[in-house]
């Protein structure tokens, strides 16, 4: 291979671009879900329906704050991996993974309770609310699996493939955190 005569420039790798496009389509999916929530809201005089308690505020807000903070170690992990600092990347990914896992387990536990209280078979409000929350948790689950994968994969060594994978996962996490924040705002909007 001879590339010495070519001007080689630094740029985002194709894996990062793949993550960007993937996030774009997922963000559109959430846009559709939130749009549906708003659409149905304008077709109902009472939202949530009478007799249905408003969603809790405190726990989801604290959990979301904790999840948002994991963007920091994911950012550090991404930068460290790019610079070849495997140990730092591993530690940051592991720290993020631990918080993400706790968030997911807690939220899934609460989700089972949510379905009990807000039975989606009772109203359009409960249907879209439960669907929106479920879709968010599913995306967090995917992120947790990705984080777990990189905790294992970069524990021994860094390869180009793993570095790009970790950077793309970090990007995915930033997006999931923003989506989770949007879902929280939707949840809080019932109190306005």
């Amino acid at each position: 291979m001879t590339t010495a005569t070519l001007p080689v420039r630094a740029a985002h790798p194709k894996g990062w671009w793949g993550a960007v496009i993937f996030v774009a389509t997922e963000a559109t999916l959430f846009g559709t879900l939130v749009g549906t929530y708003v659409y149905l809201r304008f077709h109902n005089a009472h939202w949530p329906p009478p007799g249905v308690p408003k969603p809790p505020l405190l726990t989801p807000t604290l959990l979301t704050a904790a999840l948002l903070l994991t963007s920091i170690p994911m950012y550090i992990a991404s930068r460290a991996a790019g610079a070849g600092r495997r140990e730092t990347a591993w530690r940051a990914t592991t720290a993020a993974f631990a918080v993400q896992l706790v968030y997911l387990v807690w939220q899934l536990h609460d989700y089972v309770h949510t379905i009990d209280v807000y039975d989606p078979q009772q109203s359009a409000w409960a249907s879209i609310f439960v669907t929106l929350l479920g879709a968010d948790h599913l995306h967090v689950l995917v992120g947790v699996l990705l984080s777990a994968w990189f905790v294992v994969r970069i524990s021994s060594r860094l390869t180009r493939y793993r570095i790009v994978g970790l950077q793309s996962t970090a990007f995915y996490w930033h997006a999931v955190n923003v989506i989770t924040l949007v879902v929280l705002v939707v949840q809080l909007s019932t109190h306005l």
Partner: protein, 628 residues
């Protein structure tokens, strides 16, 4: 190392396993493109047969060839098949896969294994959807599956479940394919191929892929809502529980109208490839056409409610969407004039591919003119759900989308197979399909204005519709004869065609610089691009040969291809591409089985197979490129 030795080394590096196993595990974009091609041809034949059965039923008044239930299923599956299992996978899957890397000077797609996954998921979704016929419960609520008809209380079988799950599944395949095309175009263009030098075909595929990325989630969400309502008793579409049936339509058309451009944009791309070659000059207004292709896709997202003018939505909404619909005319017309002026200013050679493009322009203008009429709200409301609408969209979907595909099949046949098609038979096939299309779809305008509504399985004698319907049916069979003649020409030429050589038509883009059929590695030396028509750029091609002799940018250290910057295509790194892999087909199989269990409400088993799919991903990513 001598040139011959370098090429032999590349052959060894990129050679894939022979036989059936090789096809099942391939990640070569050309083989995946061929898999897409033949699979979509099978679906096209199925969709065509469904159409002929419907036309036979409608040839005479009060006919009893098909029962109403069978007609409903054939009508729905005809639409679903032609859109989701023929045109999109044929354009983005077959043409896009095969041609984009060759046109941009890459050795494969950006994500070869994802590419294979996209195909196998598509094939799985097709098998899933068509297996519905085995139990006599094929989708039956029309291709746009309106609620409340599609709800469980009015449609109790599995018909609509096949539709919704099949389209979620198919949408995943299309999304993966579109993502791959976008990143390939962004990152794998040959050194020097800045945006202004990228083939217009790739612009069209880029526009269609971006549209898919942003349009499909609406359909996916819609189908998920429908399945949650049908299977688990959620409420999205029923007024009694706070839902709204129009929600389905909004979300469906939020996908469905961009879908029209997803279908026709690649066809525009094919036209902009064929016209310069046979007109023997560059496209007129190259940058304007590129921008128009992207603009059509963009505006396509703001016009969905023009499919809903008769649903009682507010006047303000009607006016907004009517105006937005008229705007689409501008970028579309830019392209029509650019095609016509290129032919006019060139020295056209009307061989079969260009004849099909001529037919396409005629049909596109006719379909476009009837399309503009729908932007006038009263006309739309008067003709909604009549055969006038069926005429319009068949002129667009068959005339404007499929005709360039047929021309494209002839145009790139020599490149893909290394052999020439029979030109005389090709011309005959053009005239048969042209006459067939006109006879089938033009009278539908008239019969629609006479009051014949869509989706009726029969009609009474004496309404003045009989003769038109008979002509349409005769036209349908003439069209089928034309298509069969194309198939015959292809199959015969595969064996008996003359050897085509590298560049039989003197095309302008990079695929014509490589042998026919292209070798596994595509390019012996990665080309450097200095113009929009690099094959007409003799100096740059001679420079490629000199670099091949020197071993510069031959990239024979492994499965290598260069990655470049997004805007000006300067080399950023040399990518190591993965070799063939069994994981994509295994993953697609797990997802397909899971879909069947979801259909039959065995959720735990479905979850088990989805978990298997996730585990498959672990095997997939454990095998890193360069480590095989």
């Amino acid at each position: 190392m001598a040139v011959v030795e370098r090429i032999e080394h590349l052959e060894e590096l990129w050679l894939e396993r022979p036989g059936v196993l090789g096809w099942l595990t391939t990640v070569d974009h050309k083989r995946i493109g061929i898999l897409y091609f033949w699979t979509t041809i099978v679906f096209f034949a199925a969709g065509g047969t469904e159409a002929l059965l419907m036309r036979t039923q409608l040839a005479q008044a009060d006919a009893r060839v098909l029962s109403p239930e069978t007609y409903d299923q054939l009508m729905t599956m005809h639409g679903v098949t032609m859109i989701f299992f023929f045109i999109i996978p044929m354009t983005t899957g077959a043409f896009g896969n095969y041609l984009v890397p060759l046109m941009i000077g890459a050795r494969d797609m950006a994500f070869p294994r994802l590419n294979a996954l996209s195909f196998w998921l598509f094939a799985g979704s097709g098998i899933f959807m068509y297996s519905s016929f085995l139990i006599g419960e094929a989708p039956n609520a029309g291709w746009f599956d309106y609620v409340p008809l599609a709800l469980r209380q009015y449609n109790g079988g599995l018909n609509v479940d096949f539709y919704a799950l099949g389209l979620i599944f198919n949408g995943a395949a299309s999304t993966i394919g579109a993502l791959n095309l976008i990143v390939t175009i962004f990152k794998l263009r040959a050194p020097g191929m800045s945006w202004n030098r990228m083939p217009l075909f790739c612009f069209a595929l880029l526009a269609a892929s971006l549209s898919l990325i942003f349009a499909l989630p609406a359909l996916t969400a819609d189908c998920i809502f429908l399945e949650l309502q049908r299977k688990l008793g959620f409420h999205f579409f029923d007024v009694a529980h706070g839902g709204d049936p129009l929600l389905w339509q909004h979300l469906f058309w939020l996908f469905g109208h961009p879908e029209v451009y997803i279908i026709v944009l690649p066809a525009f791309g094919i036209a902009t490839s064929i016209i310069p070659t046979f007109a023997r000059r560059r496209m007129v207004a190259f940058p304007l056409v590129a921008m128009a292709e992207l603009l059509v896709a963009f505006i396509g997202f703001g016009v969905w409610a023009h499919h809903m003018f008769a649903t009682g939505i507010s006047t303000a909404t009607l006016v907004f969407f009517a105006a937005a619909s008229m705007m689409v005319v501008v970028p579309s017309t830019i392209q029509v004039y650019a095609w016509l002026m290129t032919v006019n200013l060139g020295t056209p050679d009307f061989r079969a591919p260009l004849m099909f493009i001529g037919g396409f322009i005629i049909f596109f203008v006719i379909g476009g003119l009837s399309g503009i009429m729908f932007a006038a709200v009263p006309v739309d409301q008067a003709t909604t759900d009549t055969y006038f609408v069926v005429a319009h969209f068949h002129f667009i979907i068959f005339g404007a989308a499929v005709f360039p595909l047929l021309g494209g099949i002839y145009y790139w046949f020599p490149k893909v197979t290394g052999r020439m098609y029979d030109e005389r038979l090709a011309r005959w096939s053009f005239w048969l399909t042209f006459v067939g299309t006109s006879l089938t779809f033009f009278p539908m305008h008239i019969v629609g204005l006479l009051g014949m509504t869509r989706r009726v399985y029969t009609y009474r004698h004496g309404l003045g519709w009989d003769a038109y319907n008979l002509v349409e049916t005769i036209g349908g069979f003439v069209l089928a004869a034309g298509l069969l003649l194309i198939a015959f020409n292809i199959v015969r030429s595969l064996r008996a065609g003359e050897l085509a050589g590298r560049d039989p038509f003197h095309g302008g883009t990079l695929e014509w610089t490589v042998p026919s059929p292209p070798p596994h590695y595509n390019f012996a030396v990665i080309p450097t691009v200095t113009s929009a028509y690099p094959n007409w750029d003799a100096r740059a091609r001679e420079a490629d040969l000199r670099r091949l002799e020197r071993g510069e940018l031959v990239l024979d250290g492994g499965h290598e291809t260069p990655a470049t910057t997004v805007n000006d295509a300067q080399v950023t790194e040399i990518l190591e591409m993965p070799p063939e892999s069994p994981w994509p087909i295994v993953l697609a199989l797990a997802v397909t089985i899971s879909a069947f269990f979801l259909l039959t409400e065995h959720y735990a088993t479905a979850a088990g197979f989805l978990t298997l799919a996730v585990l498959t991903l672990a095997g997939w990513h454990a095998q890193e490129p360069g480590e095989a």
